[in-house]
Structures are given as structure tokens and as C-alpha cells.
């Protein structure tokens, strides 16, 4: 069929019809708009990240407030605690001072304190916990039969409430090698280390044994005098060794401690 021989109008209709058949009928514009509008109005699916972003954006002001509140609380708590601790220390010093004066002088209101009264003061001092430990050790360092016994009572009392503090102080004395404490104070500390079961001081005891037993009489006495106390005698070393034996026995670690 030659298109040139056809009615041009009819031919155009036919051609249009054929073209329409080939390409399909065009969707009316109203339908296409309606479809788009429906697509826009339909809820769109989101991934987890998008959801999180949305939630975080929504909660951001609340979270910021919470973080500020927690940080403020923590900082305020720490500052308050630090201030409180400082105030407690100052308060302790003031209250401890009176007891310390009594223990140092052995007197109260001008009257001599007997052993029981000295012990009571030392026990009262020990009630201040770890703050009392250095003062009680200082009393041991000074010597005197009444004062030393009171100091021992105080340290025993302290060990009931704060064994770590009491034992740590004893360990410091035993570890000292600068002649800061007389040998008699070391003797008392060894006794207390055993009585108070200061197991964490076994290392210090081991080192102490080496000091007492290395070499002949003269060598070890000279070594001990140089490290601990120039006034020590051979009898001192014997007493210290006996007290060390007792301490180790009480600690139940005698077998594990190396002996030279």
C-alpha cells in the first residue's frame, strides 16, 4: 500500500492510529499527576542510619542537658568531697593535737598520766584512723616504757579499724635505712607486724632478716649500725632476730621465707 495514493487525512488518521498502537496510548496527564501525588504522599522507607539521625536530632537538646547535669554533678561532688576531706583533716588535726600533747608530755592538766590513761589516749588517737598512724609511730620512735606501750596499744587499736594503714606504716619503718628510727623502735615494729598479721610486709621482713644475719658478728653489727642505729649492740641483733622469728611464725610464712 503506497501511502502516496491514500487520502491524506485518512492517511494521517491511520498513521496516527498505527503510531499510537505502536507506542501505546499516552497516559492522560491527570493520571500521571495523580500517580505522582500518590507517590509523594506515600510514606517513604528509611535505613537505620537515617532513623538514628532523626532520633538523635530529636534528643540532642535533652542529651546535652543530661551530659551537662552529670558532669556538673560529678565535678561538684569531687570538689565537695575534696573540701570535705580537707575540712576533716583540719578538724582532725585540731582534735588530735590535744591528745598528742597529752601523749607527748605524759601529763594532763599538770597531772602525770599513768599507763592506763596513756593507753586510753593512744586508743582515742587511733580512732582518727590513718591520720593517727604517723603520730603513733613517732611515739614508738621516742621511747620510754610507758609511752611505747601506749603507742603499741594505739597501733593495735588502729589495726582493728584500718589494718592497711597500720601495716603500711610499720612497713615504712622496717624499710628505712637512714638511721631515722632507733633499733628499739624496730623491735616494737617487728613485734607489731607479727601480732597485727601484716602479711603484705613479708618482703620487708625478708630484707630485714638479711640485714641481721649476713656475715659474722662484727660484720653484721657494723652493717646494722650503719643502716639502722649506731647504738645497737650484739644483744640488740639477738633480740631483733628473736622478734623476727616470732613475727614470721605468727604470719605463718616462716617456711616460705628464704634464709641465708
Amino acid at each position: 500500500l503506497d501511502p502516496a495514493h491514500l487520502d491524506p487525512t485518512a492517511a494521517l488518521d491511520e498513521r496516527l492510529t498505527r503510531l499510537e498502537e505502536k507506542v501505546g496510548k499516552p497516559v492522560p496527564i491527570e493520571e500521571r499527576l495523580a500517580a505522582l501525588e500518590a507517590a509523594v504522599s506515600r510514606p517513604k522507607g528509611k535505613n537505620a542510619w537515617e532513623k538514628a539521625q532523626i532520633i538523635l536530632q530529636a534528643l540532642a537538646p535533652v542529651l546535652a542537658g543530661v551530659v551537662v547535669a552529670v558532669a556538673g554533678y560529678l565535678l561538684t561532688g569531687r570538689i565537695t568531697n575534696a573540701l570535705g576531706q580537707r575540712q576533716l583533716e583540719l578538724g582532725n588535726i585540731t582534735q588530735m593535737r590535744d591528745i598528742l600533747v597529752r601523749l607527748e608530755t605524759g601529763k594532763a592538766d599538770g597531772k602525770d598520766l599513768v599507763q592506763e590513761e596513756m593507753n586510753a589516749n593512744a586508743t582515742a588517737l587511733a580512732a582518727f584512723g590513718s591520720y593517727a598512724a604517723p603520730s603513733l609511730i613517732e611515739l614508738l620512735r621516742q621511747g620510754g616504757d610507758v609511752k611505747v606501750r601506749a603507742a603499741e596499744t594505739g597501733l593495735e587499736s588502729l589495726a582493728l579499724s584500718d589494718p592497711a594503714a597500720a601495716c603500711a606504716q610499720l612497713g615504712r619503718v622496717l624499710a628505712n635505712r637512714t638511721q631515722a628510727f632507733p633499733w628499739q623502735a624496730h623491735l616494737h615494729v617487728l613485734r607489731l607486724a607479727g601480732t597485727l598479721a601484716c602479711r603484705d610486709q613479708l618482703g620487708a621482713l625478708r630484707a630485714y632478716r638479711a640485714l641481721l644475719t649476713t656475715g659474722d658478728d662484727r660484720t653484721r653489727l657494723n652493717a646494722y649500725k650503719a643502716a639502722i642505729d649506731p647504738a645497737a649492740e650484739l644483744d640488740s641483733l639477738e633480740q631483733l632476730a628473736a622478734e623476727l622469728d616470732r613475727a614470721e611464725k605468727l604470719l605463718g610464712k616462716e617456711a616460705n621465707i628464704e634464709r641465708p
Binding site: G106, D112, V114, G144, V146, E233
Partner: protein, 277 residues
Amino acid sequence: LSGRERGVRLAAGACCWLAMATPAARAQLVDCAAIRYASSYKIVIDDLFFAKPALDADADLKLVMDRLRFTVNNQLTALALQMRDATHQSTPLSLVSCPGRHPLDASEFDRDRAQDLTDSKVVLEVWGTLDGSVRDGKVDAREARVGYAVMPLRFYEFGAVDLPGVYVLRYPRSGGAPAGGFTGLLEQLPELDAYAALGVGLKAAKAKDFDLAVQFLKRAEALLGSVPKGASALDAALQQALAKYVQKKTCETIEAALAYPAYQGGLRLVYATRKPC
């Protein structure tokens, strides 16, 4: 009597003796600043005090108290001088006064305290009590009690029943007034020198200061021989036990010196050809 029976009797007797010989006063074991760790030997002189408040007005007792104080200081000063000559040191023995301190009896010197004091080089602690009966304002049956704690003996022989190391002696010993009257009874205290010498000797022996130890142990041995016998059988038994102990200790110290390689002192010469015991 077997040794054990004798020991038990001595222990029981010693308890009663010490209880009777001490006042029913409150113990006054107070801190004494002079008792500190030091390198010189010390004799501690405690308070002299009246057993009852009413006695402090009695002229005789006051005089005795002054005399006792004088005698103790005098004798001990002389001993300190002798020791200085013996050791060629400036102050090997010092007298330490502890006002307000007044032990009650031997029980106050438990092992720990005896050790503390021995380690502070206290060789002797002395205290005194003056007592008497007060009736209608008059004082009679006056007596003085002097306590001696030989600290090294107390510590090193702790628990030995016949060697308590703490002795509380009554004066006048016989219970009656001495020839010079009551006030003259404390002009000389031979036991004071003996106990002090014993304390020095024992402490020096432990420190392996053999020359000083033997010198003072021998001195103690001689002085104990000159002490009048105790008023009771128990006094005498304790005195005898102490004398034997000192003798034994002297021998042991000499033997220890001779066996000690580092010792090169005079005892080696003295005992080069003869046995010490």
C-alpha cells in the same frame, strides 16, 4: 626438798612476800622523759613517798626520807664514778630521776616492760615507801620499804621463780629499830650497790663487753656476800639463789669471752693457765 618443790615454795612465798612488802597504794608507773633510748647505762631513781597521807607530818619519817634520798644518790654517784674509771668513758652510768613514778610491785615489770627498760639500758630502778601505824595522831611501827628492780635480771631470767629480779626490802630488817635509832637505819644500803653492779654486769655480758661484765659481776658477787641475811627464810633463800646465780653467770661470761674469737682482752691473759670456774 626436790628442785621443783623448792621452786614452787619459793614462787608462792615470793608472791606473798612481795604482796605483804608493798603498800596498798595505787601504782604510779608514769612516763619518765629521762628513760629514753640512750647509749649509757642508767639507774632510775623513782619517787620516795609516804604510804598514808597522815605520815607526811611525822618528823622521823621525813628525816628518813631525806636520808634515804641522800644515801641512794651518794652510793650510786660513787658507783658511777667507779664505773667511769673502769671504762674510761665520760658518762657510762647515769643517774636518772623520775619524779611521780612509783611502781607497785613486781607484777608491773612484765616481760615486755622489763625488755623495754633493759633495752633502754636501765640496769636498776629504785623506789621507796615510808610507812607506819597512825593511832590518835601518833605514829609508831615506822618502817621503810625500798624496791629494787634489777632490769636485766628480770628480763633475761623472766619466769625463773627463784630469780624474780624485783626485790622489795623492809628496813629495819629485823623489825626492830637499829642501834642508831630508826632515822639511822638507811645510812648504808649494801644491796643497792650489789644490785646496780649486777645489772651492769648482766647487760654488759649480753653485749659481749666481757671485761666490763666480768668486773661488775665479780663486784656484785662480793657485795652480795656482804649484804645482811634476810629477815625471813624466804629472804634468805632468794638471796642465796641470787648469789649462786651471779657466781654461775661470772663463770659463764669468762668462758664465753675465752671462746669468742674476736675477744682479745685481759681475761685471756688471766685465764691462760687456769680454769675460770
